[in-house]
């Protein structure tokens, strides 16, 4: 059987990769990739700790999974807005390099 530490290890590796991407990348799309990877690390941790604990009585036992569902939906909304901003930035500057984007005017 897998132990809880294995899932936490995978989550930690995903989080470290996301931090690395946030620091080194200047392309807005790569930054979005890094943020999505870090959100997935947090979701994986959430479900892992919930499933390896006895849980609250009654329907509250599914609390962690419910929060992860909300988190996934929020991440989808966030990705839609970021991609719209990327398209606008590309239309204005022909590039999505975040160090070049000094203006946020429509």
């Amino acid at each position: 059987m897998n132990s809880l530490a294995d899932f936490v290890l995978v989550s930690a590796m995903l989080f470290g990769i996301g931090i690395y991407g946030l620091i080194t990348k200047r392309n807005a799309l790569r930054l979005l990739f890094a943020v999505e990877i870090m959100i997935n690390a947090a979701n994986l941790n959430f479900v892992a700790f919930e499933q390896y604990s006895p849980g609250l009585p009654g329907p509250q036992a599914a609390l962690g999974q419910t929060f992860v569902l909300f988190s996934i939906a929020l991440a989808a909304a966030e990705a839609a807005v970021i991609l719209a901003i990327v398209v606008v930035a590309y239309r204005l500057h022909q590039d999505v390099d975040v160090s070049e984007l000094k203006t946020m005017e429509g």
């Binding site: 530490a5 080194t24 999505e36 390896y52 599914a62 839609a80």
Partner: protein, 173 residues
């Protein structure tokens, strides 16, 4: 002991994440991100959380990854794949910071008794998820629907092409 399925899915998840950030062609990077998200969904299955896993596949791979893929193909430029060698200091700083965080988390986990937790103790089913969503957390669900609607309207407003006054950069879009 870990089983082979876990090892395979860990390789897919972590390898896909690294490939998403380091692939020369950003389209392949988007596909690597989809592979990483699929690996996380498989880990949810291993955690006995099938509803979350299916939700992850439907929303992340079905919607977000496809959205990212189309946007990448819309704004892709050839020069991105050539100017990859970023300035060395920031790359070293990124690798050092990422490794430091991973090592710190591993040391923290090793000092606990998480490795002895080998039994999945929570037997929550999707019935209980439905009960929670529709009773205790129904306000959250409605606010989440509002947020999603506002995000979609905002995205459409942002990316709308103004037909009245064509500007310089809008000709090829």
């Amino acid at each position: 002991m870990v089983d082979a399925t876990f090892i395979a899915m860990m390789v897919v998840t972590v390898g896909g994440a690294i490939f998403a950030l380091e692939a020369e062609e950003i389209v392949y990077g988007a596909i690597g991100l989809a592979a990483s998200l699929f690996g996380v969904a498989a880990l949810f299955f291993l955690l006995n959380a099938p509803y979350v896993a299916v939700f992850q596949v439907a929303v992340y791979i079905g919607a977000v990854a496809v959205l990212i893929l189309f946007t990448v193909m819309l704004v892709r430029q050839e020069k991105w794949s050539k100017e990859l060698p970023a300035n060395a200091p920031s790359r070293v700083a990124g690798v050092v910071t990422g490794l430091a965080i991973v090592v710190a988390l591993i040391v923290a986990v090793a000092s606990t008794n998480l490795t002895s937790e080998t039994q999945l103790q929570n037997t929550a089913s999707f019935l209980q998820i439905g009960q929670l969503i529709s009773s205790t957390y129904s306000p959250v669900l409605e606010i989440l629907a509002l947020v999603l609607g506002a995000a979609v309207v905002g995205a459409l407003t942002l990316s709308r092409v103004d037909r009245q006054g064509p500007e310089e950069g809008e000709k090829q879009s």
